[in-house]
Symmetry: C2
Subunit: 361 residues, 2 copies
């Protein structure tokens, strides 16, 4: 089947680009002696996760219990980077802990106590990372003292295995040249925390960090042992715009069809908010919600639920109704969450289709 | 089961509020002699669609073929407000046309010709509305002459039934007091189009319009026969902010759990972009992505994929980890697309759960 025969909108993954993205990250991790634990939120697919492990990933990172429940068939080395708060989440976490080697990242005594209360002391232990806030101001303990206090609560518990610390540097978004100062600031705080834990007799075996925007600077982070990139498997317009990948490294596009050219100066395609997500580009200034793969000067300038408007003011190209286009989205992790399946292509040939089976809850 | 026992995040629908919303719209339509054809994109559920028909809707509006394929079990009077462009869409449209009474809204000769080429002339006819651009600048023919030209292409075809015109006034978003001038402008253009069609001997039986923001001004639209509100079944923060519903008419909330209070001045819940959508409020100025049902001064000020940040700077309330909150989203139609099911509640009691079975493609 050729791409032209596909029903639109649908995510289309260039298999060669995806494989090259996996190789590049694995080589970086190997070069710097870092464990590689990709975050599956970007693809939510066991098909892609298996490839990541074959390319050198040592385990996987999940945010939702649904992701972990699907990925346990792929590997038994799972980090759930989300605290198991709430009875339903805790009960699903417990069921997984019985069949998989789990690690969890958390930032509160409530989360530790909830886990400790339900884990049987004779079973396999759950590894615990204390989440640090190193500047993002979202979650994570704020000070070295808070990290020590939480680690002291974890370490003595027979069902918990104190491993170390983790963080998400989501505040570091811009081009590489601007990241050095941000990483220096992050390192001051991280070193203080690692020193305080060492002084308190709480040895740190794991320092887990790394996002895609700051991925290639990860080796500069003090004491880091592991990275958890998500987006890098597909990349997206934002990743390319900040220089964390080349434009030609964007592996996932949303295939769409031109359905109206009635309003002059624009064309409307069948990929709107419900296919692309209303995600701005971040880390640099740029308009719109995506660009065309083969005409990056054409921006998706406006979205409705089922309509995306292509701004034709910077091109002589005038598409016809029925023409297909491939859109590189601003933020690919959202696109995955909006579809039940994706197709893999080589050139214009559809090679396979896989379910996005960890979508949903 | 009480709400407190639900796994979060999940959409929770207040059944009494939803019923009252349906009654209010049906009474308005009856008062003004308008056919009511709700847009199912907001709920994507046959459960809710059946209720809409029981409350006085005369048919349903769909955007996607998936929506129409699900809703044909609810009624055989379906308007597909989207042109059947592309081989896959056309083939699914044809299959539906064989078992349902279909209407379609389109804006191009390409769409007319594609339909005409595949519809058997001896079968049941497909009703056609010409979509007009009355100011939104998204889709729709731009001039009375274009409307006449397209209608002339439709009317003679034995498999097509020329019905009239439709439009979506999505550019009219603000409070009611500001809508009058916009509706006057819309009426000038609409009247010109209706006059041109009458002069051309193309009688218009249907004038289909109506969005939720401009819903209560629909009777001011010249010659209107039908309205297609979507959001009004649930309402949302935007609808309340512009005064098209009361705050207490918001029937759908996203139930979420506080998972971190580590960063001072805020609490983080488990509803992020993948539960709420990154939708700004529109038509008025207001920050954030949603507000709490029982504490509207608390705004969801930031989103990550699985994290929503509650800004606590305007409240003395300090939630504990594990507390549940109910968030009124900015744009409820996106929320529906992000979940596989919703629950219906009366007070704090969960009465039912229904599948959002027209989600997906």
């Amino acid at each position: 089947m050729s791409i032209g025969e596909l029903a639109t909108p649908i995510p289309v993954v260039d298999l060669d680009r995806m494989a090259a993205n996996m190789v590049r990250v694995a080589e970086y991790a190997r070069t710097h002696g870092l464990a590689l634990r990709p975050h599956v939120k970007t693809h939510k697919s066991s098909r892609v996760a298996r490839d990541q492990l074959a390319h050198g990933a040592t385990g996987l990172t999940c945010a939702t219990l649904r992701e972990a429940e699907v990925m346990r068939a792929v590997t038994d080395d799972l980090l759930i980077a989300y605290p198991p708060i709430g009875a339903a989440r805790l009960s699903r976490f417990m069921a997984l802990a019985q069949v998989s080697r789990l690690r969890v990242m958390l930032d509160s005594s409530e989360a530790v106590d909830a886990l400790a209360a339900v884990l049987p002391s004779g079973g396999s232990r759950v590894g615990v990372l204390v989440e640090l806030d190193l500047g993002m101001r979202r979650v994570g303990v704020a000070s070295p003292a808070d990290a020590v206090a939480l680690a002291r609560r974890i370490a003595p518990h027979p069902a918990l295995e104190w491993l170390g610390v983790g963080f998400y540097p989501g505040h570091i978004r811009g081009p590489a040249e601007g990241q050095t100062a941000a990483i220096d600031a992050l390192n001051w705080q991280l070193c203080d925390t690692l020193d305080a834990l060492a002084t308190a007799g709480l040895p740190v075996r794991v320092v887990s960090g790394g996002s895609t925007p700051a991925l290639w600077q990860s080796h500069r982070v003090a004491g880091i042992t592991e990275i958890r990139p998500g987006t890098s498997v597909y990349n997206d317009r934002t990743t390319a715009a900040i220089g964390a990948c080349a434009f030609d490294d964007c592996a996932l596009t949303v295939l769409a069809t031109v359905i109206s050219v009635a309003v002059p100066g624009q064309a409307v395609v069948d990929a709107g908010t419900k296919a692309l997500g209303r995600e701005p580009i971040r880390g640099v200034e740029a308009p719109g919600y995506g660009v065309l793969l083969d005409r990056p000067e054409v921006v998706v300038s406006a979205l409705s639920e089922e309509h995306g408007t292509l701004d034709l003011s910077h091109t002589d190209w005038r598409p016809a109704i029925g023409d297909q286009v491939r859109i590189i989205p601003n933020h690919v992790c959202i696109v995955t969450h909006l579809f039940d399946s994706a197709v893999g292509v080589r050139g214009d040939v559809v090679v396979e289709e896989w379910p996005i089976e960890a979508r949903g809850r």
